[in-house]
C-alpha cells in the first residue's frame, strides 16, 4: 500500500469513502403514513373501522407520527418532506393496512348463550422502491382480540370499533399495533442489492368456491385479499423482492403522493422475473370428532414469464380445525375458510425456501412436487 507523508493512501481513501458509506447506509426513505392496500373502490368495504377511527383529524396518523418521532429508525433516515424522483432516492415507507376482520359466533355453553367476537387487524410495514416498483422490505404486524358478550348479540359494530381502537392504540400497558409497527421500523435495515423480482401475477377462484363468499365480499375483492396475503408472506419468508399484486390505492396513489413529481403517479409496476399463479380450487368443511375441519385446495404455478418456462406446477391441499363444533348456534364459517386458504398459501411459501419431503407427501397431489420445489429453492435463499 502506498504511503504519502506517513499517512497511508488507504486511510485517505477510507476517510473519503467511509462518510459516504455512512451516507449510503443512512438511506433516506420518504414517509407515507397510514396507507390502504387494495383497490380504491374497496377501501370502505375493507377498512370501515380504521376509517372511522382515523376520520377527521387523523388520530391514527398522528399517533403514528408521534411514536416515530420518539423512536426514529436506526438504519435509515426518515423524511417527512416530499421526495424527487430524479434524485434516485425513491424509497417510501408506509404502514399499510392489509386486513380488518370481525368474526362473530354464538355459542351455547353450560353457563348460557354467549356471543364470541374476534377482531383482527393486520398491517404491513412496507419499504417500497417506487421507481423500481418492488417491495424492498415487508414486515407484517398483526394482532387480534377476542371478547365475549352475554346472550345472542346481533349488533356488534360499536363493540368491534372499541376493540379495534384497543388493538391500534394499546391497552393496559400492552403496546398497540402502531407502537409495534414503529418498533419494526426502528429495526428495519434496507438492502442495497436489488435482486430478482417475483410477483403473484394472478389469482383465480374456481366456480365452486364462489357460492361460499359472504355478501360483502365479491370475487375480485377475495382475489385481492389472497394476492396481498401471498405477496406479503413471500416478501417476509422468502426474503426476495416482491412486486405488489396490484397497484391499488396505496401503491398507485398514496405512496407516489410523497414525491413532488407528477410523473410518480404514472409509474407502472414492472414485469416480474418470476411469476406465481394461484388458483383456489375448493374450500371444504366437515366435522371430525367434535371439531370442524376447514380445508383448502389450490393449484400453484411458478413460471418465468419471458420464456414461458414453468418450474413448479401442482395441486396442493391443507386444512385447519376449529374446536368444539357442537357448541355453535351461529358459526362464522367464512373466517375459517379464509384462514384455511391462507394457511395453505403460507405453507407453500415456506416450502419455497425450505422444502420438506414429508409436507409434500402429505399435501401435494403431484408425485414429484418435492423435486420441483427443491430444484428451485436456491432462488429463495440468499
Amino acid at each position: 500500500m502506498a504511503a504519502y507523508g506517513g499517512l497511508p493512501l488507504f486511510a485517505i481513501l477510507f476517510s473519503i469513502v467511509f462518510p459516504l458509506r455512512d451516507a449510503f447506509a443512512e438511506q433516506p426513505a420518504y414517509y407515507a403514513g397510514l396507507a390502504f392496500l387494495g383497490d380504491f373502490n374497496y377501501i370502505d368495504t375493507n377498512y370501515p373501522m380504521t376509517q372511522a377511527l382515523n376520520a377527521g383529524e387523523g388520530r391514527l396518523d398522528r399517533a403514528l407520527v408521534d411514536a416515530l418521532e420518539k423512536s426514529p429508525p436506526e438504519h435509515m433516515e426518515l423524511r417527512y418532506s416530499l421526495g424527487d424522483l430524479d434524485r434516485t432516492e425513491t424509497l417510501v415507507l408506509a404502514v399499510a393496512l392489509d386486513r380488518e376482520r370481525v368474526s362473530r359466533e354464538v355459542l351455547d355453553l353450560s353457563t348460557g348463550v354467549r356471543t364470541k367476537l374476534i377482531v383482527e387487524i393486520s398491517l404491513q410495514v412496507l419499504l417500497y422502491e417506487l421507481a423500481g416498483g418492488y417491495l424492498v422490505a415487508n414486515v407484517p404486524v398483526s394482532a387480534a382480540v377476542n371478547h365475549v358478550l352475554d346472550g345472542n348479540v346481533g349488533d356488534i359494530d360499536d363493540e368491534a370499533l372499541a376493540l379495534a381502537e384497543t388493538l391500534y392504540l394499546g391497552h393496559g400497558g400492552t403496546p398497540g399495533l402502531l407502537e409495534q409497527a414503529v418498533q419494526s421500523i426502528a429495526a428495519l435495515e434496507p438492502t442495497d442489492a436489488p435482486g430478482l423480482r417475483y410477483q403473484l401475477a394472478s389469482v383465480g377462484i374456481h366456480d365452486r368456491v364462489l357460492p361460499l363468499l359472504p355478501g360483502q365480499i365479491d370475487e375480485r375483492l377475495f382475489r385481492q385479499r389472497l394476492g396481498q396475503f401471498f405477496s406479503a408472506r413471500l416478501s417476509e419468508h422468502a426474503g426476495v423482492d416482491v412486486i405488489p399484486f396490484t397497484r391499488g390505492y396505496a401503491i398507485g396513489n398514496q405512496l407516489p403522493g410523497r414525491f413532488a413529481n407528477g410523473e410518480a403517479f404514472n409509474l407502472e409496476l414492472p414485469e416480474p422475473d418470476y411469476a406465481f399463479h394461484v388458483e383456489l380450487k375448493n374450500l371444504s368443511r366437515h366435522e371430525q370428532d367434535s371439531n370442524l375441519v376447514f380445508g383448502a385446495q389450490a393449484h400453484l404455478t411458478l413460471e418465468e414469464p419471458f420464456t414461458g418456462s414453468v418450474s413448479i406446477a401442482g395441486d396442493y391441499r391443507a386444512g385447519i380445525f376449529k374446536p368444539a363444533a357442537g357448541l355453535r348456534i351461529e358459526s362464522d364459517d367464512w373466517s375459517a375458510y379464509e384462514d384455511a386458504a391462507e394457511n395453505l398459501l403460507d405453507d407453500l411459501v415456506t416450502q419455497l425456501r425450505s422444502p420438506d419431503r414429508g409436507w409434500h407427501r402429505q399435501h401435494a397431489r403431484v408425485a414429484d412436487s418435492y423435486s420441483q420445489f427443491n430444484a428451485k429453492k436456491e432462488l429463495f435463499n440468499d
Binding site: 488507504f10 481513501l13 477510507f14 473519503i16 469513502v17 459516504l20 458509506r21 449510503f24 447506509a25 383497490d39 380504491f40 373502490n41 438504519h75 424522483l85 430524479d86 434524485r87 434516485t88 425513491t90 374476534i118 383482527e120 421507481a131 423500481g132 422490505a137 414486515v139 407484517p140 404486524v141 398483526s142 394482532a143 387480534a144 377476542n146 365475549v148 409495534q180 418498533q183 419494526s184 429495526a187 435495515e189 434496507p190 438492502t191 442495497d192 435482486g195 430478482l196 417476509e236 419468508h237 426474503g239 396490484t246 397497484r247 401503491i251 398507485g252 396513489n253 407528477g262 410523473e263 403517479f265 404514472n266 414492472p270 422475473d273 418470476y274 419471458f306 420464456t307 418456462s309 385447519i320
Partner: protein, 380 residues
C-alpha cells in the same frame, strides 16, 4: 371474559434479510466511490429482458457463459427496439454492428434470471434482465442518419393543438305520422215482406310515431398548450433540430401560418381544414431563400378525454390521443413523417396533474416517433 384459544399471531417480526454491506477490499471501495459519483439518474435507465442460446459442449466454461451473456444483452437491445421503439428499427439496422461490437457500453447493468445447460443438445441458455442506457442508445440510433450535418440541424417549427371535451349536446328527433283509415260497411238485408238496410261507417285514426336518437355532439375547447410545446420542443431540440416558435414564424409569414385558424378548425371539426394547411404551407414557402427559411413544419392534434376516477388507485385518469405529421417545405409540402393516432394515459391526484402527465407523455411520444421516422429518411 372467557379466553378462547386463538391461532398464534406474531406481534413483532424481525426482518429476515440483513443489510448486505459488502466488506470490500480497497479496489472495491474505489469502484464504489466511482459508482456513487457517476451513478445515473433513475429516470434515465430502462429495463429489457433478453435471451441467448449458444453451443456450449458438455459443460459451459466461463468463456462460453460470458459469450452467452453478451449475446443475451444484444438480444435485449434488439427486443427493446422492436417492441418499444419500432419507428427506430430502420436506424437500428444501420448501427447494429456498432452497438453489438460494444454492447456492454450500452448496458448499465444486468441481472441473470436463469441459466440452463442441456447436456444432450449441448446448448447453454441464459435469460437476463438488462438495464439499458436509453439516452446513449437513442443517440446512436439518431446518429444513423447518413450524411447528417454535424452540429446545426434543420430549421423546424411545429404547431400542435389540443382539444378538451367540455360538454355535450343531446339530440333526438321525433316524427309523428297520422294515418287515417275509414272503413265503411254496408250491409243489406232483405227479407220477404221487409227490407232493412243498414249502413255503418267506421272511421279510425291511428298515430304512428317514430323517434330517432342522434349521438350526443361533443363540445370542445381548443388551445395550444405549454406542456405540449415544452415536451415536443425538448425532443426536437435534443435531435438537433433548430426549433423556431410558431408564433415567430407566423409573423414572418405574414400570418399565413396562423395559430388561430388551426384552433378554430379543430374546435368545429375533426381535422385541420385544407385551406388552413394550404395557407400554412404557402406562408412557409414564401420564406424560402430568406433568412427566415424553415425547412420543416410539424403539425398535429391532441384529443383530451374527460377525466375519470380510476377505481383501482383513486387517481384521476386522463386519456390523450395524438396524431401528427411533418411536411418538407422545400419539397412542395410533401409529408415526410406521420404518426398516430397514439393513445397515452396520465394519472394524478388531481385532474390537472393527470392531464399534464397525459399531455407530456403524448407529446413526447409523438415527437419521438416523428424524429425517428425523419432520421430513418436521413433527415436531421
Amino acid at each position: 371474559m372467557i379466553s378462547w384459544p386463538l391461532k398464534a399471531y406474531e406481534f413483532i417480526k424481525q426482518p429476515t434479510r440483513s443489510t448486505r454491506w459488502r466488506r470490500g477490499r480497497f479496489g472495491f471501495l474505489v469502484v464504489l466511490l466511482a459508482a456513487i459519483v457517476v451513478w445515473p439518474g433513475a429516470s434515465m435507465a430502462i429495463e429489457q429482458k433478453g435471451v441467448a442460446d449458444i453451443d456450449a459442449g458438455r459443460s459451459a466454461d466461463r468463456k462460453e457463459r460470458n459469450a452467452a451473456v453478451e449475446e443475451a444483452l444484444r438480444n435485449a437491445v434488439e427486443t427493446w427496439v422492436a417492441e418499444k421503439q419500432p419507428s427506430q428499427f430502420r436506424n437500428y439496422q444501420q448501427v447494429k454492428p456498432t452497438i453489438d461490437a460494444d454492447i456492454e457500453s450500452y448496458v448499465l447493468s444486468h441481472q441473470v434470471i436463469s441459466t440452463d445447460h442441456d447436456r444432450k443438445t449441448q446448448r447453454y441458455r441464459v435469460v437476463l434482465r438488462a438495464t439499458l442506457n436509453e439516452p446513449k442508445l437513442l443517440d446512436a440510433l439518431l446518429a444513423a442518419s447518413a450524411g447528417a450535418p454535424s452540429g446545426d440541424g434543420s430549421y423546424l417549427t411545429f404547431l400542435f393543438v389540443a382539444r378538451e371535451q367540455i360538454g355535450t349536446v343531446t339530440q333526438s328527433e321525433k316524427e309523428a305520422t297520422q294515418v287515417k283509415s275509414r272503413t265503411e260497411a254496408i250491409s243489406r238485408e232483405r227479407e220477404e215482406n221487409s227490407a232493412a238496410q243498414t249502413r255503418s261507417q267506421e272511421q279510425s285514426v291511428t298515430m304512428r310515431q317514430s323517434e330517432r336518437t342522434m349521438r350526443d355532439r361533443a363540445l370542445w375547447d381548443v388551445a395550444t398548450s405549454n406542456e405540449i410545446d415544452a415536451a415536443m420542443g425538448e425532443v426536437f431540440t435534443d435531435a438537433d433540430y433548430l426549433v423556431i416558435d410558431a408564433g415567430i414564424v407566423g409573423g414572418a409569414s405574414d400570418y399565413q401560418l396562423n395559430t388561430d385558424s388551426f384552433i378554430e378548425d379543430y374546435r368545429t371539426g375533426s381535422d385541420i381544414r385544407a385551406e388552413t394547411k394550404r395557407a400554412a404551407y404557402q406562408g412557409l414557402a414564401s420564406l424560402r431563400g430568406t433568412d427566415d427559411e424553415i425547412q420543416y413544419l410539424a403539425i398535429g392534434t391532441l384529443d383530451i378525454e374527460a377525466a375519470e376516477l380510476d377505481d383501482k388507485t383513486g387517481n384521476h385518469r386522463v386519456v390523450v390521443a395524438v396524431t401528427g405529421e411533418v411536411w418538407s417545405v422545400l419539397q412542395r409540402g410533401a409529408t415526410v413523417a406521420e404518426v398516430g393516432p397514439v393513445t397515452m394515459i396520465g394519472e394524478g391526484p388531481s385532474e390537472l396533474v393527470a392531464r399534464n402527465n397525459a399531455l407530456k407523455a403524448a407529446a413526447r411520444r409523438a415527437a419521438g416517433d416523428l424524429v425517428a421516422k425523419l432520421s430513418g429518411r436521413n433527415i436531421r
